[in-house]
Amino acid sequence: MAKSLFQKVWDSHSVRKLANGQTQLLIGTHLIHEVTSPQAFGMLRDLGLKVAYPHRTFATVDHIVPTDQFVEPYADPLAQAMMDELRKNCADNNVTFFDRASGKQGVVHIVGPEQGITQPGTTIACGDSHTSTHGAFGAIAFGIGTSQVRDVLATQTMALGALKVRRIEVSGKLPPGVYAKDVILHIIRQLGVNGGTGFAYEYAGSTIDGFSMEERMTVCNMSIEGGARVGYVNPDETTFAYLKGRPYSPTGAAWDAAVANWKSYASDAGAVYDDVVKLDAASIAPTVTWGINPAQGISILENIPSPETATSADDKAGIIEALEYMKLPAGAPIKGTKIDVAFLGSCTNGRLSDFQEVAKFVKGRKVAPGVKAIAVPGSQIVALQCEKLGIDKILADAGFEWRAAGCSMCLAMNPDKLVGDQLCASSSNRNFKGRQGSTTGRTVLMSPVMVAAAAVTGYIADAREVFSVANN
């Protein structure tokens, strides 16, 4: 019977049925970080257990690391305590820790792929909802809570119910100046902030097939923002080319065997899906959010919704609440909204190609007066790649602060935070109230190039106009 990749991975990793009807699922790769693991290690100690498969467990530190302080102890003693705890837990359990000293530290969802740890046909779990990023490789990757981190540490498995699969086909050529970030913001807008609850999203179609691995990661990364715990792309030659030669990729005869195995996991042509959605790439424009959840997005050419245009009572209440928080005028163009901060980075858009694309456009330009602009590479390796290419210099010359790798202002568990009701043009993934560290701070999500356009003009702008991108 023809199967989807999800079904194949689920089947090959199913250990047994549990009493409540859920499946005990083998988790091949466990990624851990400092925020959601310390309590899990504590529970493990209480149970008198050690990590069951330390060689399949990998750690790094990302959420709390200051991006402008390199020497420990960190100024924030709580951050230092979390760092120390992770270091000790890894040492006690023989878990590989991509610490800053390793030169491989970074946001966990950037480190896994970069090291070749993230592979097709595997299961991955991490105590972070953006774990769906790894699905870009044809892995089934779950964001989990701390008790499940404990379960995976202790048994390399967890209890789960199978998901339905929705295939989202995006076809055709994206217009110039439209990026993978716009595609996923558009998908979430179309399907809703909880439209994916109970589903794994299979991203497919010629647009996705033509994407680089970094673009695919951007798309898969935000699956959870549409309610889907899992998102993936079928592995293909692009996937294999990316993985070849990475530190944890197989070599020699094992490489050939792995590629053959990986290919066998791709969804079969006749696979049956619980739902299929088709989208036309040509209809997608640069997209920005105007509200307080990632589905509240519009194209840069549209006006901010007003309560009068609401489609339901719920929609109306949502618009009123969002506009009040965002302090944006109903019905006005979003273009021209003044910004205070520009943030480039995060597990969504903190990879080499993101900075390369921005550098191409901001070279010789200056960040607008009064705008604080920071560029935060997603990993130490991304930082090094950028520095070798002189991208750090281009960004610094333009007025961006070039920082060290970490989650930075995406969630403000570190010193990078908004102040008061500052409005941030952000390449990150969440625009929830208070997300960027100020209880009244405002986030507008967009692609890195749109962040760059906002940075140099001081306003939310159409990057295609600002940077004279030919619109065919």
Partner: protein, 200 residues
């Protein structure tokens, strides 16, 4: 590990209305700088309950008449966003024993169940009926019955739903799967043995 069989939750309730109440709102990220979950209850809904200087804002949880409520009522897509277990932990540590909402975000639902904190769904109209009753009389006893799948309050009763695997786990006292997962060790080794990357 004997776990309690959670067949019902009885207590007073409080309504925190709204859709898409996300985990950052339930527990802002800055309070996650901790290595234990102890003390998180104090910061539940912190930024919608308190001003920066600590003075209280208008919020149902700040109303004395709802002090001691153990059942939380809310809207659609409750707990969306991050996978942080800190969110259900904060709710539980505050003193809640169950949540009734229109529907829940996936990861939040699973995290809550594993803590033995039932999340059940009801229609908007029915949640409004419960909310009206507890707003009229905060002392009203509300009973969530996981066996009959109904909520009883103020002489009324409404239907609720819960994913069967979660309901089964709660009523049979196996909501924390760790014991069962550990018992599967031999099967785990056999499954892992068939996957080349597991020995890498």
């Amino acid at each position: 590990m004997a776990l309690a069989k959670i067949t019902s939750v009885t207590g007073r309730a409080v309504n925190v209305p709204g859709n898409d109440i996300d985990t950052d709102r339930i527990i802002p990220a800055r309070f996650m700088k901790c290595v234990t979950f102890d003390g998180l209850g104090e910061f539940l809904f912190n930024d919608v309950r308190k001003q920066l200087d600590g003075t209280l804002k208008e919020h149902p949880l700040n109303e004395a008449r709802f002090t001691g409520a153990t059942i939380l009522l809310s809207g659609a897509n409750f707990g969306c966003g991050s996978s942080r277990e800190h969110a259900p932990q904060a709710i539980a540590k505050y003193g809640f024993k169950a949540v009734i909402a229109e529907n829940f975000a996936e990861i939040f639902f699973g995290n809550s169940t594993t803590l033995g904190m039932p999340c059940v769904t009801a229609s908007r109209e029915d949640i409004a009926k419960i909310a009206d009753a507890v707003n009229a009389n905060p002392q009203s006893e509300v009973v969530i019955d996981l066996v009959k799948l109904e909520v009883r309050f103020a002489g009324q009763s409404v239907k609720i739903a819960q994913r069967e695997s979660a309901r089964d786990s709660l009523v049979n006292g196996r909501w924390d799967a760790i014991g069962e997962l550990i018992d599967g060790k031999t099967d785990v080794q056999s499954t892992a043995g068939k996957l080349a990357y597991m020995s890498a």
